[in-house]
């Protein structure tokens, strides 16, 4: 029973982690929260769903389509809602106003396009399950886990082992110094938004598969949860976000199994407040961000 719940939590947590990583990436380079990221997640879920409904594509293709579509949306958001404010040197709260505005627009457009009723993925083929000792894993769960692990691995390789990743880390450290060294921070930030949003879109499809209920309003809840996970893991730390997501997935599933399920969402925020009280820099963050400019 416990092992089964932990495995379920792991699947859920892996998808949560993808959303939180998006926040962390953006926070890393901009030191700002991207309040429309939840809507990017929602649009990703819809792109995946609609491509399955209309073009009858396989889940993998739907996932790639969602990643590409979300990446484009993320880049548009950076160009419209962040870059102009950065160019004017606005107050750090101004991008929050512009992203709330952008979120409202995206949500209403999604409501007009897809309707406000929650829809789920069509049941195609039979869902097979495998038994590993006491643990049962369905093909949907396996797909979610594999897709999340591959996405996270790809992200790790990108950030740690490529020139682009190095440029991202340099801009996160100091945009000014990076610019002196010949890196164009604006291009790097655009790339970061594309990567973060693609991961958000993938997470949208995966959580859409997992809960089988997609509506234009799923972005807000997931967005707040993603931010809580980022805080649990440590601001701007993508590995912290990964582990924070897994931790939260496990805590949520266990809370449903052993407490009242209607309180599951409160556990995420309860955990966050406890961690902020005792370890304000997050589980894996450095103290720099707490006292620094964040």
């Amino acid at each position: 029973m416990l092992q089964q719940q932990l495995v379920n939590g792991l699947m859920l947590g892996a998808a949560y982690a993808l959303v939180a990583i998006g926040y962390s990436l953006v926070f890393g380079v901009l030191k700002l929260v991207h309040l429309a990221h939840g809507e990017v997640f929602m649009i990703g879920a819809f792109i995946g769903l609609q491509s399955v409904l209309w073009f009858k594509v396989s889940p993998v293709v739907a996932l790639l389509a969602a990643a590409a579509g979300s990446a484009v949306l993320g880049m548009i958001l950076e160009l419209v809602a962040f870059r102009p404010i950065r160019a004017r040197g606005g107050h750090f709260l101004a991008p929050m106003v512009s992203t709330i505005g952008a979120a409202l627009v995206i949500q209403e457009v999604a409501t007009k396009l897809f309707g406000s009723e929650p829809i789920g993925f069509p049941q195609t083929g039979t869902v097979t399950s495998w038994q590993f000792g006491a643990v049962q894993v369905s093909s949907v769960q396996l797909f979610i886990l594999l897709a999340s692990v591959i996405s996270m691995l790809a992200l790790h390789l990108l950030v740690a082992h490529t020139r682009y990743g190095m440029a991202m880390r340099a801009v996160a450290e100091s945009p000014g110094t990076a610019a002196i060294l010949g890196i164009n921070p604006n291009n790097v930030i655009l790339l970061t938004f594309a990567v973060a949003s693609a991961l958000g879109g993938v997470a949208g499809v995966l959580l859409g598969l997992s809960f089988n209920s997609i509506s234009p309003y799923i972005g807000i809840d997931m967005g707040i949860k993603g931010m809580a996970i980022m805080l649990i893991g440590g601001l701007g730390n993508i590995y912290g976000a990964m582990l924070g997501g897994l931790l939260l997935g496990a805590v949520e599933v266990l809370s449903v199994a052993y407490f009242e399920s209607s309180y599951r969402d409160a556990f995420a925020f309860g955990l966050m407040i406890i961690i902020v009280l005792f370890r304000p820099q997050g589980l894996f963050g450095s103290s720099y961000h707490v006292e620094g400019r964040a």
């Binding site: 102009p84 101004a94 709330i100 505005g101 409202l104 809580a228 601001l235 925020f269 309860g270 304000p280």
Partner: protein, 271 residues
């Protein structure tokens, strides 16, 4: 109740919400969970005035006190963090309050609290607004108010000047939460029905918009911001279907052209 009267009531409630967030923000305490304080005030006030027959004014004060106590409890963990951390922390608080009322059966849980008497009047709200604006203006001029500005500008320097950081931060949180609680009480007795979904993230974001959009260097900022956000969608009724889209576009535009708020003569220190 005429259309204009209900618009005026909503505007007055929003002005109260704007001021309730302006006060902690003047001390650098940003909150994106103000809907939580509003919800606490709304439920407490509705239970007392409509279910137990307590006088409305007393029930409003009780709702405000309950919200202020909640503000103090949030204020404590918030003492340890600032900036983005504080924003996310308060956001989580707002969600916890909403989830609590969603599960709290005595107040109807997800189906909400019905049968609230229509006790909110425009004159009562105007009096509350005048008092709140007066408090905010006086606060700005007082010793505590100057301490708040000092904390906002530079915590380290403020502390070195002998300002008690904990006192100033907790006080600003509690006063703000009190006003939000009173606004919630008025709201409950205007809407006559409250449910947890009314106090979600969007309402917190709205209060945040009043202050940041209006500008938080003077009390006028949140008032103008509240008027802008409340009245604009009413004026935009002619494009009914795409109201929120247009509103969203305007928010983006306002953030681009006036990044320091509509009323923001003094340039604020930021990152």
């Amino acid at each position: 109740m005429s259309y204009y009267e209900s618009v005026a009531i909503v505007l007055a409630i929003n002005v109260l919400m704007g001021i309730s967030l302006y006060i902690p923000m003047a001390a650098g305490q940003i909150s994106l969970g103000h809907a939580g304080f509003m919800a606490i005030g709304a439920y407490v006030c509705a239970l007392l005035a409509s279910q137990s027959g307590v006088a409305f004014a007393l029930a409003l004060l009780a709702g405000g006190v309950a919200a202020a106590l909640a503000g103090l409890t949030v204020g404590f963990p918030a003492l340890r963090v600032r900036g983005i951390y504080l924003i996310i922390l308060t956001m989580g608080f707002g969600e916890i309050v909403r989830i609590f009322f969603l599960n709290f059966e005595p107040t109807g849980g997800p189906s909400g609290l019905r049968g609230i008497k229509p006790l909110t009047t425009l004159s009562g709200l105007v009096i509350a607004c005048v008092i709140a604006i007066g408090v905010a203006v006086q606060l700005r001029r007082s010793r505590v108010g100057r301490a708040m500005i000092a904390v906002h500008e530079d915590e380290g320097a403020a502390e070195a000047m002998g300002i008690h950081l904990m006192y100033v931060k907790l006080m600003s949180f509690a006063v703000g939460a009190f006003i939000a609680g009173v606004a919630g009480g008025f709201y409950a007795h205007y809407a006559m029905f409250i449910e947890p979904a009314q106090f979600g993230f969007l309402r917190s974001a709205e209060a945040f918009l009043f202050v940041v959009l209006g500008g938080f260097s003077t009390v006028l900022g949140p008032i103008v911001g509240a008027a802008f956000v409340t009245l604009l969608p009413e004026v935009l009724r002619f494009i009914q279907e795409w109201r929120m889209t247009f509103f969203g576009v305007l928010l983006v535009a306002a953030a681009l052209w006036r990044p320091d708020g509509l009323i923001g003569p003094r340039r604020l220190k930021g990152s």
